[in-house]
């Protein structure tokens, strides 16, 4: 039970804070809901390169976690999300989206099938109200456990090697989206081969009281493998390169939308692969079937933008200079050596290979320029190294 005087502190610290604070040379923080996380520690470019070249550690403790248990846990999860959870075996993790009755995406996240009939749902936003609303008629217990589990993302080409030196025997046999437990400090360390970087990587989950010991031993083990703490800014770069979407950036969570026409369906976010009409009923199914029949309104596209200017918040035009959409995420990709962007465009535009134009405003030494950049719609992530999927992964 929270003390009544909690108001003295708006923002809490994560279980790793003593370490992240000590490392944060920039003293640069931001608020991830009600927790403090580092924007960057020393240099964003170095941190980004740790993700792609060695081993990056990101504190993801504030990630929302809900535990779903009870006899109807599977039926409940399957009614909640658009993909077939029955196919998710124990000790597997699945990426999923869930929709409202209009088939509009509320949030995306990962489902951890911890053991038979016990699921953990990790997501960006808090979902307790939605989960409880969805639980009507199901015998399930839903508990938010965000603050009960600390999390670290360990990502990058040497991450497997780091974990091996750390003592996780056989970790190299863990396949992508696999989940495994190891004893640690008298408790359990859960390791999943998941991440938000599009690279080889793992996520480590631990009770908060063991968090600091985990951090210390991990950094000791990684010392010879280029381990480095990274902040949100570097992570953001890698997720755009990987082509991952983010709630509140690339789409508006449907349960937060005041203006009802601003939301997107899974199809409109290029997540049609996560929609399974062959499984039992799920919220949004009828609307999505209808959309499937009649066609979507929008499409999420990945754009290769000409030139070297990031297409920040750029309007997107077709050949006839009709405004057909807007860029939602953009950056200069060090890995792809290209200006890349995610954009939401109206149908029927945005077919792979289509040439579009982005209206970019940028300034150099306070002089503003407008640049109509040609863009090409590309398929798949901008950066997709084979090590991401290889089991066992190579050590370099």
């Amino acid at each position: 039970m929270l003390a009544r005087d909690h108001f003295h502190r708006a923002v809490c610290e994560t279980p790793f804070h003593p370490r992240t604070a000590a490392l944060n040379q920039l003293n640069l923080w931001h608020r991830w809901r009600d927790h403090t996380v580092a924007d960057a520690y020393f240099d964003v470019g170095m941190e980004y390169n740790a993700i792609r070249n060695s081993c990056a550690v990101f504190d993801l403790s504030p990630m929302t976690k809900h535990l779903v248990t009870g006899p109807d846990a599977l039926a409940f999860m399957n009614r909640l999300v658009t993909r077939d959870v029955a196919k998710l075996k124990p000790l597997r993790v699945g990426y999923a989206v869930w929709c409202d009755e209009g088939g509009q995406v509320i949030d995306d996240g990962t489902i951890f099938h911890l053991r038979d009939g016990v699921y953990r749902l990790c997501s960006q936003e808090r979902q307790l109200d939605w989960l409880h609303s969805s639980a009507l008629g199901f015998e399930v217990r839903i508990v938010e456990e965000t603050n009960d589990i600390a999390g670290l993302a360990v990502q990058g080409p040497t991450s497997c090697a780091v974990l091996r030196s750390f003592g996780l025997a056989g970790i190299e046999t863990l396949t992508p989206f696999g989940l495994r437990s190891y004893p640690f400090a008298g408790g359990t360390l859960e390791v999943s081969r998941t991440g938000y970087t599009g690279d080889l990587g793992y996520e480590l989950w631990i009770a908060p009281e063991h968090a600091l010991r985990l951090w210390d031993e991990l950094f000791l083990a990684g010392a010879n493998h280029g381990i480095r703490a990274i902040g949100t800014l570097a992570l953001e770069m890698s997720r755009i390169e990987a082509g991952f979407i983010q709630a509140g950036v690339d789409f508006l969570p449907a349960d937060r939308a005041v203006r009802v026409d601003r939301t997107r369906s899974p199809f409109e976010l290029d997540l049609g692969r996560l929609v399974d009409f062959s499984k039992p009923n799920f919220t949004g199914r009828r609307a999505l079937l209808e959309e499937h029949r009649r066609g979507s309104r929008y499409r999420l596209v990945r754009l290769d933008v000409a030139g070297n200017k990031p297409a920040r918040d750029a309007y997107v035009y077709d050949q006839r200079r009709t405004n057909i959409g807007v860029v939602t995420s953009s950056m200069w990709s060090p890995a792809a050596k290209a200006s890349i962007a995610l954009a939401s465009v109206m149908m029927p535009w945005g077919a792979p290979g289509e040439e579009l134009t982005a209206e970019i405003y940028y300034q150099k030494e306070l002089k503003w320029n407008r640049f109509m950049a040609r863009c090409r719609v590309v398929e798949g992530p901008f950066f997709d190294p084979p090590r991401r999927r290889a089991t066992p992964p190579a050590d370099r």
Partner: protein
Amino acid sequence: MKYDAIVIGAGHNGLCNAAFLARAGLKVLVLESNPYVGGAAVSRELHPHWIYSNCSYVCGLLRPEIYRTLELARHGLQIVPYGGGVTFTRDGDILGGYLDKDIRRRELARHSPRDADAYLRYGRDTMRQCRLIRALLLRTPPDPSSLRWRDIRELIHIGKEFARLGEQGICDTMRFYTLSIADYLNEYFESDVVKANFAGSGIIGTALGVQSPGTAYVLLHHYMGDVDGQMGAWGFARGGMGAVSNALAAAVQAHGGEIKVDAPAARILTRGGRARGVALANGDEYYADTVVSNVDPKRTFLKLMEPRDLEPEFLARARNFKIRGSSGKLNIALDGLPDFPALGAGNPLISGDMHFLDSLERYERAYDDWKSGTWSKDPYLDLLMPSATDPTMTPPGKHMMSVFVQYVPVKVQGRDWTDADREAFKQTVFDQIARYSPNFRSLVLHAEVRTPRELEAEVGLTEGNIFQGELTFDQLFFNRPFPGFAQYRAPVRGLYMCGSATHPGGGVMAAPGANAAREILRDLRRGSSVPEGWSDD
């Protein structure tokens, strides 16, 4: 003396109306019965060195479009947002509505983790309704029974706004307008304290209980405002609510308008079925072809006019207009800042509004007392210490407490209030405050006790209703004040209404005054600078 327009009553709507008329080049006279302007939006020194906003006490609905167009900032108005609100529970806990969203969430979660998340859905749904209604505030309601193009066009416009909500959105809206605040809250929250915390906004100023259908809508009259784009936020006018009126008065004068105080209107003069001026109580007469009444319709049509000037049916409408006093007010000068131990040291909510009903049942029972002709024995209080935000209201270190009290009847068991009633009423309120603030009583230096009677006698609001008329749908939008007369025109040519009894109603919005000005200038074929609402897309 001949003017282009005479406005009866220098309340904020009368002044706003006069300012827009003057701005359009009209020679305008505002007549005010009190020795000061402002009506119910005043700052008065009723205890030496203490400034009381002794009627209206907070400012959140004042339309920013009007604020800007009339350059009220230049005329001295400053609105300062204040810090949240709190509900005290009987078991010694609190539910704090902290400004910071994460603290607020954690605070809700202390009472119910589920409600903490449901709050976002509640906020979203309520904001959807706010958006819809905000678009209508600075527009003249259409007459649905009319076939004039202007009305039809406006109906189509509204129809399109509705259609944009989508089928479910339209249904949600229909339900929102017909549900009680209790039923509305039940759809979101499980904790009684949480529900009680939000319920107050559904009943403030009305003679309705939290279980009365139609009260969910009243919520909007407390949520649809904004301070600097922060929707739902409330603020203080620096220097008290009189600052709003003074700035509006300055705007009137800046455009050449004239304001006469101590000039109670006795009669609206008519000739040949049209308005021609106003006679004062002292016999002075002022002439104008346009007369605008800021006073409520009962007063305007039943007291200031001769019955023969109006159709019997129209008079019946005026008689049947529901005003209904339901609230009282205590203004208290304090020798220091009272302790509210449940808040804990350093709690910013000491400067927010405080409420002491922690269950819907207590709210409803408070209403039952009113129905049976007495003030609530366990009343709803909206307690606020403006001096905690604006230290210039009191001498340094001293404080001023504004206590809005509901429910308070116009008559006690059918008879007029006696001094003993007023004293007992005051003690009822003091008892409730003292239960949560042990040193409160010892700090009281002066207390002004206002029942609906005082409000009527001093401000001229019939029955002391703060909204100049119930906010139920039979008296809203195209029904406000009466069906067929919602476009600010009275049945007598040249006579207009501009008070809170007209669309969109009370709450110191100034929108009725502005909307009336637009209609008057339209009739006079003069250009108008009355703003349209700003887009929220």
